[in-house]
């Protein structure tokens, strides 16, 4: 502490000061009083606010001089690290502008003793370890009392006029609420605003300041207000309904309630419009992680979940579900979660296609129209347990179940024409299937880190079980117009059963070798069994059926895989290199129960991989990688019986299929410059496959196809892409040019002749975004051209083009709480078959008006496809077939929509807008 040695009163008169400075000087000596002390510090600190006014060092003669001190009352502190400080109070005035202290003598340092505080121990005040606990309800406070009122009642705690709190005479540095700071660092925000009735206990303890802001050898006193559970509750949600009062409807309910660490979300969505899913903003806001329609596969790619939700047709959707999660355990280190989702999806689709078939010696045409009615229903339940066992160990368990059933009715009519446009055959198919499925899976992940940095062990077990049964009928009738072929009919009952069971265990261990090198070792074992039986019976009469042995089979596959991997990884701030390889052996036993024959395959693969990443700065990134992979044939493509589900395209299995082997090289570069507001992304990929599984198709004289999967070398695909964003005019305008191009080559066999089909395509696109506070406008245009070429027949070598132009705008009016939105897309298809060169213009618009002070009630009018032009038109080109599709989908409709958003705070509920 400062020792106040001298008190010099130079004047008692203080006149209003001009901005005139004082001159303070003096000479400093050491304890002897005779040796001048150089490099001692003289500083002037104003009394009223402790502001440092001026300071100076003493020179070799011990002299100092301060000239920037305004007239004021201040302390002059003379200090030197080897001596105690000496302070003088100085009352400056006009009369005493110059002060000289001729002989400042510093004395040796003295040590201070730390004060010891002893606490009292009384009920309802008690100690828990070193923590002093007050039970809040034991102290009576008024009805609307805040925490500060409570604190004033607590023995040993004082609160001064500014709200500063002292416990046992020592100041409280921080007030926590449930162990966390409450809205910033000012302790009075918590104590003056929180209701006293919500407080369970008040805890006071000393602790070392973790952040050392107050010192390593210093402790600070903390007050922690533990809230009663009911004080941590809240909810928010949205309910909306829309209708056109004749045909279409949309309705949804989203509700989220949180209570401490507990979260509960409930959702319902019902519609018969193409809006069959929640958008990303809602999924994120309400925590409906499994409802995004996508799931991640083993390689980390996002895959679309479920089937036929593409909107090609007229859908009807009902989804509902519940999500729950909580943290349990003493320290809330275990997170448990549960969700259940119900989905009922129906689709009524009508599509037409027109195909041209090119064979070496001839060509023919087919026109096809299909109506599909499908109904799917599923119940899905997922559980998760994630536990932080200790600071180095985590355990995660994720079981999952799904029950599903579905039915599909298809009626199809195809008409075949010869090269000369003569009708050759017509085919009518009507079929129905009913399917039931059960799947169960679980994943257990155990991760252990070690005291040694970067050493880690991961153990994983995966289990997957699926059981599907499908019952179906098939009625196909052929009428022949040329030659002498007799008309025929196929009338069958089909029963398929498929059971699949996979168990995988995997261990991965990382060992640091040096500060930058580490070694990755991996072992995986996979065991799987698959049993598939297909039974087909021909219906001979209404009561009599017989097994059709051509289409009946039962097949069992057992597979064992052992895989080891080793990789050396180098990591530094700018460079990461990984070099490694995997080696595996696979044993596959295929047993055909009908013929009692078995086929065994033994496969050994070496799968090297290599990757390099360069990060020259935080915002640019270059990476290159090479890897190899091998894909095994599915049971369906192995099973050696024909599948006539589509009698015009019969699939035949091939038990001799070998796994594929692919090489892949990929490169990408991304960079973002925030200062100039420019970014660029680009990349290139090259993929080459040996033993690729390709189709060998035989066409019969009546246009039917018989397809068998065979192995072929030389399939490749490659692409390059580059895109950029350039911000202009202070980010109000952004332009986005982009380009991509691809080249693919695939092998196939047409009537046993090898065909190489290559496709070159490119797409150029350009986007503009214009953003002001209340107005945003964006446009996007793209032009693409695809040129296919085929060795077997040049007739499919017809290039075609697609253009797309989009405009979007949204404008919030400065009055009446009205928002206008519009988006329009114009699509131009060129160089296709007659009737399929469709140009269409789809225009959607809406007008929203918000009501209430909170703007939480919204009425909107939405118009979808106002010009009534919606259609899906696509061209697909395979080895020797060009097909143009048209699908009828929902076109023009108008909806009146009412939305009410709510929360427990009765405030405006903000949407999470991700568009």
């Amino acid at each position: 502490m400062k020792q106040l040695v001298g008190l010099l009163l130079f004047s008692f008169i203080s006149l209003s000061a001009w901005s005139q400075n004082m001159k303070i000087s003096g000479t400093v000596y050491d304890t002897s009083g005779t040796t001048p002390l150089p490099d001692a510090i003289a500083m002037a600190v104003r009394i009223k606010d402790s502001v440092l006014l001026d300071y100076a060092l003493t020179d070799a003669q011990g002299k100092f001089s301060l000239s920037k001190v305004p007239i004021d009352t201040f302390t002059l502190v003379i200090s030197h690290f080897r001596f105690d400080d000496k302070s003088y109070y100085i009352f400056g005035s006009q009369e005493n502008l110059e002060i000289n202290i001729p002989n400042v003598r510093l004395s040796f340092k003295t040590k201070e003793l730390a004060e010891v505080v002893v606490y009292a121990n009384k009920n309802p005040i008690y100690f828990r370890g070193d923590t002093l606990v007050y039970v809040a309800d034991s102290f009576k406070v008024g009805q609307n009392a805040v925490v500060e009122d409570l604190l004033k009642k607590l023995p040993g705690i004082t609160v001064d006029a500014d709200g500063k709190i002292k416990a046992q005479g020592k100041e409280i540095s921080k007030v926590f609420v449930d162990g966390d700071e409450f809205f910033g660092t000012d302790p009075t925000i918590a104590t003056k605003n929180l209701g006293a009735s919500g407080v369970e206990t008040v805890e006071v303890y000393e602790k070392k300041n973790e952040n050392a802001a107050e010192g390593e050898d210093e402790t600070i006193q903390i007050m922690d207000l533990k809230l009663k559970e009911e004080a941590k509750k809240g909810y928010f949600g949205r309910v909306s309904g829309a209708s056109d009062f004749t045909q279409f409807y949309e309705g949804e309910l989203l509700f989220n309630r949180f209570n401490g660490t507990q979260k509960l979300a409930v959702f319902v969505l019902a519609s018969n419009t193409p809006r069959s899913q929640f958008d990303w903003g809602d999924i994120n806001k309400f925590g409906l992680d499994e409802e995004n329609g996508y799931s991640q596969n083993e390689d980390g790619d996002w895959m679309q979940k479920g089937s036929n939700m593409s909107g090609n047709g007229v859908p009807q959707t009902l989804r509902a579900g519940i999500y729950f999660s909580d943290k349990v355990g003493k320290k809330k280190k275990t997170k448990v979660g549960f969700n259940y989702s119900y989905l009922n999806y129906q689709l009524n689709a009508l599509s037409q296609s027109y195909s041209q078939y090119f064979l070496t010696d001839t060509s023919y045409y087919s026109a096809d129209s299909t109506r599909t009615l499908s109904k799917n229903e599923s119940h899905t339940a997922n559980f998760t347990i994630f536990s932080q066992i200790d600071s180095l160990t985590t355990l995660e368990i994720k079981p999952s179940f799904q029950f599903s059933n579905g039915s599909t009715t298809v009626s199809d009519y195809s008409h075949y024409l010869t090269e000369n446009a003569l009708a050759s055959r017509s085919n009518t198919i009507s079929k129905g299937t009913n399917s039931d499925g059960l799947s169960a899976s679980s994943e257990i992940n155990f991760t252990r880190n070690f005291k040694k940095d970067r050493r880690s062990l991961t153990l994983q077990h995966k289990f997957n079980y699926e059981n599907n049964t499908t019952d179906g009928t098939l009625l196909s009738e052929n009428l022949y117009y040329l030659g002498s072929t007799i008309n025929d009919t196929t009338n069958q009952l089909k029963n398929n059963k498929n059971t699949n069971h996979v168990e995988t265990v995997k261990a991965t261990y990382y060992e640091p070798l040096t500060k930058k090198w580490k070694l990755e070792t991996e072992y995986m074992f996979e065991y799987s069994t698959n049993a598939q039986s297909k039974e087909t019976r021909n219906i001979l009469s209404t009561t009599l059926t017989e097994i059709d042995s051509n289409f009946t089979n039962s097949f069992e596959t057992t597979r064992y895989q052992h895989r080891v991997g080793l990789a050396a990884i180098y990591e530094s701030r700018k460079h990461t290199v990984s070099i490694g390889t995997r080696a595996r052996t696979i044993q596959i036993d295929n047993y055909n129960i009908y013929t009692a024959t078995s086929i065994t395959q033994n496969i050994t693969n070496i799968l090297p991989r290599l990757s390099y990443t360069f990060k020259p700065s935080k915002t640019s990134h270059l990476s290159a990688r090479y890897n190899t992979s091998s894909m095994q044939p599915s049971v369906n493509s192995l099973q050696p019986i024909p599948d006539n589900t589509n009698p015009n395209r019969v699939q035949i299995g091939n038990p001799d299929l070998k796994p594929t082997y692919s090489h892949r090289i990929g490169m990408n570069y991304n960079s973002w410059n925030a200062v100039t507001n420019r970014n660029i992304w680009s990349g290139a990929n090259f993929n080459y496959t040996n033993n690729a599984m390709v189709d060998s198709t035989v066409f019969d004289a009546d246009g039917r196809q018989f397809v068998k999967t065979v192995n072929a070398d030389g399939n490749l695909w490659t692409n390059v892409y580059v895109g950029s964003g350039i911000g202009l005019y202070k980010k109000i305008l952004e332009i986005n040019p982009g380009f991509n191009a691809s080249y693919n080559k695939s092998i196939s066999y047409i009537n046993s002749l090898k065909n190489e089909r290559s496709t070159f395509g490119f797409n150029v696109n350009f986007g503009i975004n214009f953003n002001l506070d209340s107005l945003s406008l964006s446009t996007y245009s793209s032009f693409g051209r695809t040129s296919p070429s085929s060795t077997i027949n040049s007739s499919t070598n017809q290039p075609y083009t697609t253009q797309e132009h989009q405009v979007y705008f949204s404008w919030t009016l400065p009055f009446w709480h009205i928002t206008l939105k519009s988006d329009a897309t114009y699509t131009v298809n060129g160089q296709r078959s007659d009737g399929y060169n469709l140009n269409y213009f789809i225009w959607n618009a809406s007008i929203d008006k918000a009501f209430l002070k909170t703007e939480n009630f919204i009425i909107s009018l939405q118009g979808n496809d106002m010009l009534n032009q919606n259609i899906i038109a696509q061209r697909s080109v395979s080895s020797n077939i060009i097909t143009d599709y048209k699908t009828k989908i929902i076109s023009r409709y108008f909806l009146v929509k009412m939305t009410y958003k709510f929360n427990n705070k009765k405030e405006k509920e903000e949407d999470n807008d991700w568009n």
Binding site: D39, E181, N211, A212, G215, S617, A674, V675
Partner: protein
């Protein structure tokens, strides 16, 4: 070359007189600890917060070279991988004492922004609170930046350079500790070395040519990013120590 000679002489004198006198030339290594929980206090994503909790304290190292005319404060970049490197930015500050001229290389998402200006001196409040940092006794001073922000500095009279982390100066001694009031960001000296900095140590490496004044840069950033809440926060963070 005169500069080096000059420095050598100063350094030499300093070393000779070190036993009895205070340090006027040398190098100080600082460790900065950033409490990421406080940086990301507005984030509501609980998984992200759990991740932040696990990596709560982000450490960065800096070095300060000083003599009686110039000081430079710059990051020591580790060559090792740091998975939290995205969470904080590091700036370089050179302060020429005689001209009161600052050259600051600010980092915005990996891009450099160069600021050259004279900065007005800070008003310091001196307190009685003392503590020891890296074996030097320090006294606490407070800078009331604005109504809501206070910065604490601990300075030692044993090191006489008018210097400190992030160009902080104006105290009767070198700043060995610097902290925001809530302890969200703190700089503490880890080691003090008696060494004579070379001219090379005081060179600011600039990758860009464009130089802003304080006001120019502030206006430019407010124009570019000031419309958005996150933008304002980012600018506040960048100018936190200026």
């Amino acid at each position: 070359m005169i500069g080096i000679k000059h420095l050598l002489i100063i350094g030499f004198l300093s070393i000779i007189t070190i036993a009895n006198s205070q340090l006027k030339v040398g190098k100080i290594v600082y460790e900065r600890k950033t409490n990421l929980e406080k940086v990301f206090k507005d984030v509501v994503d609980s998984d992200f917060l759990d991740y932040i909790k696990k990596n709560k304290i982000k450490k960065d190292e800096f070095e300060l070279y000083f003599n009686d005319t110039v000081s430079i404060f710059k990051p020591i970049l580790s060559d090792l991988v740091d998975e939290m490197s995205w969470a904080t930015n590091t700036n370089t500050t050179r302060h020429s004492l005689g001209l009161n001229q600052f050259t600051i290389v600010l980092n915005m998402w990996g891009q450099e922004l160069i600021l050259e200006d004279t900065l007005s001196p800070k008003v310091w409040q001196i307190t009685e609170s003392k503590r020891v940092i890296s074996n030097y006794e320090c006294r606490k001073a407070i800078w009331q930046k604005n109504d809501s922000t206070r910065i604490y500095a601990w300075y030692s009279t044993e090191i006489l350079a008018n210097a400190g982390p992030e160009g902080f100066c104006g105290l009767p001694g070198t700043i060995l500790g610097l902290a925001t009031e809530d302890g969200g960001v703190i700089y503490f000296a880890k080691s003090v070395e008696v060494t004579i900095p070379t001219e090379q140590d005081f060179v600011v490496e600039k990758k860009r040519k464009k130089v802003f004044s304080y006001q120019q840069l502030y206006d430019q950033l407010m124009e570019d990013y000031g419309n958005e809440k996150w933008g304002k926060e980012m600018i506040a963070e960048m100018f936190e120590w200026l």
